[in-house]
């Protein structure tokens, strides 16, 4: 697979590390609440694991060190896009 890194351009997937589903959102653990434990458990462990389009985290560790959100279809491996995980990280 060649992942279109927004900064570096298309690169072999071997340059990246994979972290999985990027649609999960980390609960704000600094705010105590009854649902926090359960929400955190879901965040850490539970995945939709879809057969089809998936937004997922890839880390370009051998390149620009960006965390990317890549749009990829788990049935075909077709990649339709990639963006820096949070453009707010810089600028």
């Amino acid at each position: 697979m060649r992942i279109p890194c927004p900064f570096c351009g298309p690169r072999d997937a071997a340059e990246f590390s994979y972290l999985g589903d990027a649609s999960v959102r980390r609960p704000d653990s600094s705010v105590p609440g009854d649902g926090l434990d359960a929400a955190m458990q879901v965040y850490v462990y539970i995945r939709d694991n879809p057969a089809g389009p998936l937004k997922e985290y890839w880390y370009h560790g051998a390149g620009c060190h960006s965390w990317l959100v890549v749009d990829r279809d788990t049935r075909t491996h077709e990649i339709t896009g990639a963006a820096e995980a949070h453009s707010g990280a810089v600028s």
């Binding site: 900064f7 690169r11 960006s66 600028s91």
Partner: protein
């Protein structure tokens, strides 16, 4: 008073082959730093780099240079800055000039840098670099941070001769050199040690 001798990353490495298919010259004595923009200061940083160094700060994987100082884009908001004026105070001066706009972190001792030329250069690089290095795809001014034979490397193209420069982590210089030597051996690798 502590007075230590410097030893460059590729100081002891010699090719096992003969021939000049690829010529590798080590670049020594350069000041190197990582520059990372502070949050929200990108525009100000670009202005300062323009006025202080006469350099248009690259926003992608490209380099621009002036007066012996080169800014290479190595990541979003991140540059490798190389100065070859043999000025040991360069990084400190850089830090002073970019104060509040960017973080400046000294890397002068951490990298080995080779300048690579020769008629077999492209066919040699092809054996490790998984990036299209054809003139149209990777023109002079291009920079790539990538992995060559499992070794992290930053390479950039100086001109269409072509002349490439490659920086690798000092600890991996021996392993990197093994790849280079093996890959260039069909047409020979010569190491040229003269500092440029």
């Amino acid at each position: 008073m502590l007075n230590l001798a410097s030893k460059s990353a590729f100081a002891t490495l010699r090719s096992a082959s003969s021939g000049k298919g690829v010529v590798a010259a080590q670049r020594v004595g350069m000041a190197v730093a990582t520059v990372m923009v502070r949050r929200g200061r990108a525009a100000a940083l670009a202005d300062t780099v323009r006025t202080q160094f006469g350099i248009e700060l690259p926003t992608g994987p490209h380099w621009t240079a002036a007066n012996g100082t080169m800014f290479l884009g190595v990541g979003p908001g991140k540059w490798l800055v190389i100065n070859d004026a043999q000025n040991s105070a360069f990084v400190q001066e850089l830090e002073d000039k970019l104060q509040g706009l960017a973080s400046v972190v000294e890397q002068s001792g951490g990298l080995g840098i080779l300048r690579l030329t020769g008629p077999a250069l492209h066919e040699t690089l092809e054996k490790g670099v998984q990036i299209d290095l054809a003139p149209a795809a990777f023109p002079p001014g291009s920079v790539a941070v990538t992995s060559i034979a499992h070794v992290g490397a930053t390479l950039w193209k100086l001109d269409d001769a072509p002349i490439f420069e490659i920086a690798v982590a000092r600890s991996l210089s021996t392993s990197f050199f093994h790849w280079l030597d093996a890959s260039a051996s069909a047409r020979g690798l010569s190491t040229d040690d003269r500092p440029d």
